[in-house]
Symmetry: C2
Subunit: 250 residues, 2 copies
């Protein structure tokens, strides 16, 4: 039975899992779980992930959620996944776990909270919260600074000095890509100080072409739609509604 990946490409961890499968030639069925329609909260989906979050996978009788756990599982059980994605070496593996664990309470927390409270909240039926956005920006900037000065300090182009990407590169770059939906000036202001981070995003995108761009298409569409709304002044909270902001087929 084919691997099933329950995902919404507007979700950054969903994209990381889909790109990983495509880059590694894993035969899978993508089951679209539309978060703007709250499909992740349906009883059917909660049979797969009772936490009501995408992504989740079903591999035969085995169910799994949490994107980092999924990426590790896929790297371990599918033949043909190159070692650099999740090395067999205990020391390298430990460092990847360290980056992935750090991601949760730093880059992820900052980026998700900032993006939701400056751009996506209305599309998710939530109010924008400027104070939460301001607090989150501090966490986000501090996280980007740590990636620039520490995680990317090695000789290679990727995290931990690697010459080829690991699952950590894919996970963290997909997280940062979510900033694309921000106002252009805001996006540039936040990323501008971090030259290594910008180069690393390009390198990860290049290393996973053409899948990276293909899977991110929906994000660029949402970005264009939001940018258009902003430029035409349709940027009030009520107008950035679910139907106008995010396409129903995203």
């Amino acid at each position: 039975m084919k691997l099933k990946v329950y995902a919404d490409r507007m979700s950054q961890p969903s994209r990381a899992v889909i790109i990983f499968c495509k880059v590694n030639g894993i035969d899978f069925e993508e089951v679209r779980t539309d978060i703007t329609k709250r499909q992740q909260l349906s009883p059917e989906f909660k049979e797969i992930n009772p936490m009501g979050k995408v992504p989740a996978i079903v591999d035969g009788r085995f169910k799994l959620f949490e994107s980092h756990a999924i990426l590790i599982y896929l790297a371990c059980v599918f033949p043909g996944v190159a070692d650099h994605w999740y090395p067999a070496d205990f020391f390298k593996k430990a460092k990847i776990h360290s980056v992935l664990d750090w991601h949760h309470s730093n880059l992820r927390q900052g980026a998700v909270t900032y993006v939701v409270n400056t751009a996506l909240a209305p599309a998710l039926g939530l109010p924008l919260n400027p104070q939460a956005a301001s607090d989150a920006e501090k966490v986000l900037s501090s996280s980007l600074s740590k990636i620039e000065s520490f995680w990317l300090q090695g000789s290679g182009r990727f995290l931990l000095g690697g010459n080829q990407p690991s699952i950590a590169d894919l996970s963290l770059v997909c997280e940062i890509m979510q900033l694309e939906v921000l106002d252009e000036n805001d996006h540039n202001r936040i990323l501008a100080p971090y030259e290594k981070v910008q180069q690393w995003i390009k390198d990860t995108r290049y290393a996973t072409r053409p899948h990276f761009d293909e899977v991110h298409k929906i994000l660029f569409k949402a970005k264009a739609r939001l940018q258009k709304q902003r430029s035409t002044g349709e940027n009030s909270e009520t107008q950035l509604s679910l139907t106008t902001t995010l396409p129903s087929k995203m």
Copy 2:
């Protein structure tokens, strides 16, 4: 060269790592890194963990931080660690990763924010934030509810239906133990609805005796001190100062 564990026993992930080493007979040196003295922010410590957080380890020339990554590493490289702590089986391992990843943005986020903003903030030189505490309590209660109804739903006494504890049990139980520093009524109110959770804490404590209680001694001392301050009315923000709340030798 002996494994070095940089830790402060008032930190719940530090305790998890120390207990793991002791239970598994790992020969290690505990290097006390006092967070009330901000030793985790010293240049010497930042050579080990530039993020300025405990725990961290140095094993020969290898440095590592993030407690989950450390627990996995120790389980993999030290001979004699029983399989149940971190099973070789890919499927069991994947489920443990899933719990540990879930922990970051749920139980940990809720518990840490709640405990800091209702009890420990003054000792850390921070103001108490009732709104943050209120928001955190929702995350904490929701997380405990998910542990009760989902993670502990199997036939065994431990997470994921296990008959013996894994690193996930140790990590999550140490997190919940931090609630001991709360006001007694508050502590009971939060935990009372979750009978399975309460039994699981006892079971994990029993399975790791006598090390669990020995390593938690400092927490019970801090609890007693805080409770005394509360009962004598010395519970204003200024009086719950660093020196009166937490012992210098904790």
